[in-house]
């Protein structure tokens, strides 16, 4: 199953919950900063996202939308 996620970078505060709990390691923190000054979560499209939505479940800011085929 293939999936993808969309992260609203302006809502992200860089807590790393999604990075830590993603079973595929498909999320990383950016080197750039958002307008609040936080490193934000970025989706790595080369990794095989299954659309399990664990990242969205953990995200305190509800910044993640999940899509699945």
């Amino acid at each position: 199953m293939k999936g993808k996620i969309l992260i609203d970078k302006q809502f992200c505060k860089g807590c790393r919950y999604c990075v830590e709990f993603c079973p595929k390691g498909a999320i990383r923190l950016s080197t750039a900063l958002n307008s609040k000054g936080y490193s934000f979560a970025e989706f790595d499209e080369k990794k095989s996202c299954t659309g399990c939505a664990t990242c969205a479940l953990m995200c305190p800011e509800t910044a993640i939308e999940v899509y699945r085929e």
Binding site: Y17, E20, L57, V66, Y67, E69
Partner: protein, 246 residues
């Protein structure tokens, strides 16, 4: 591609003021998801506390009545008695519910008021700058217990669920946590059950949620999640403390 997860309708699309990794924002989202799923958005009335969650009315798109510090269950009692068909719940922290609001909490539970209480326990006063709360663990360092909480002079932490379980009219008490995907799913189920108990008019229901406070615990968000697992659950064991079949 099909959208499988997006922001619940009951949660306004505004950035929250909570610190990175705070459990409050996860709990707000779970409540909003349940309000959508159980079609309660038009009938729910929430009573937010004084504390970090004082601005909950900026985030949850339902009716709210702000209560004075600690008096949320007393205000909720009044609302529920006048509007018995509405879903009435209070959302309180440990300083609000277990310190200044102890009397209101105990007597509301003892009267068996048909309300639900979402009790967020992070073992510290968050908004005021990390002072010792009644739920602070033995030996835990806070700004008012710089050498750690001394149980000989300050007493041991209060276990609210166990305390309320001795009262006849409490019907559903459960302790959960929001520090891992599995625990977050259990928390959502527990809040749903509390709402169902209110709908079936069985009695007073309370869900205690162990939540992280990375800023005042002086930890990064991931370490604070592990701290709940390794230290906090030993003092506050998870699970259903009391349930009367409804």
């Amino acid at each position: 591609m099909k959208k499988v997860y997006s922001r619940p309708k009951s949660l306004k699309k505004v950035p929250m003021h909570y610190c990175p990794g705070c459990g409050h924002s996860i709990i707000h989202r779970l409540i909003a998801e349940l309000l959508d799923e159980m079609s309660l958005r038009e009938t729910a009335i929430c009573v937010p506390p004084a504390g970090c969650a004082v601005l909950a009315y900026n985030y949850l798109d339902i009716d709210m009545v702000e209560a004075p510090h600690g008096r949320a269950t007393a205000v909720a009692t009044g609302i529920k008695r006048v509007r018995p068909d509405n879903m009435v719940f209070s959302y309180q922290g440990d300083g609000d519910l277990a310190a200044i609001g102890t009397a209101e909490t105990l007597h509301t539970a003892n009267r068996g008021e048909l309300i639900s209480v979402i009790f967020v326990n992070n073992a510290i006063y968050g908004m005021t700058g990390g002072q010792m709360a009644p739920t602070t663990l033995a030996g835990q360092i806070t700004t008012t217990s710089p050498s750690g909480r001394n149980t000989k002079t300050e007493g041991p932490p209060i276990r609210v669920c166990e305390l309320l379980s001795t009262l006849e009219n409490t019907t559903y008490l459960e302790r959960v946590a929001v520090n891992s995907p599995a625990n977050i799913k259990k928390t959502k189920k527990a809040i749903k059950k509390a709402f169902q108990h209110q709908q079936k008019k069985t009695g007073f229901s309370l869900v205690e949620i162990l939540s992280s406070c990375p800023t005042n615990w002086k930890m990064d968000p991931l370490k604070s999640c592990r701290w709940i697992d390794e230290i906090m659950v030993k003092e506050f064991p998870l699970g259903v403390i009391k349930e009367v079949k409804c």
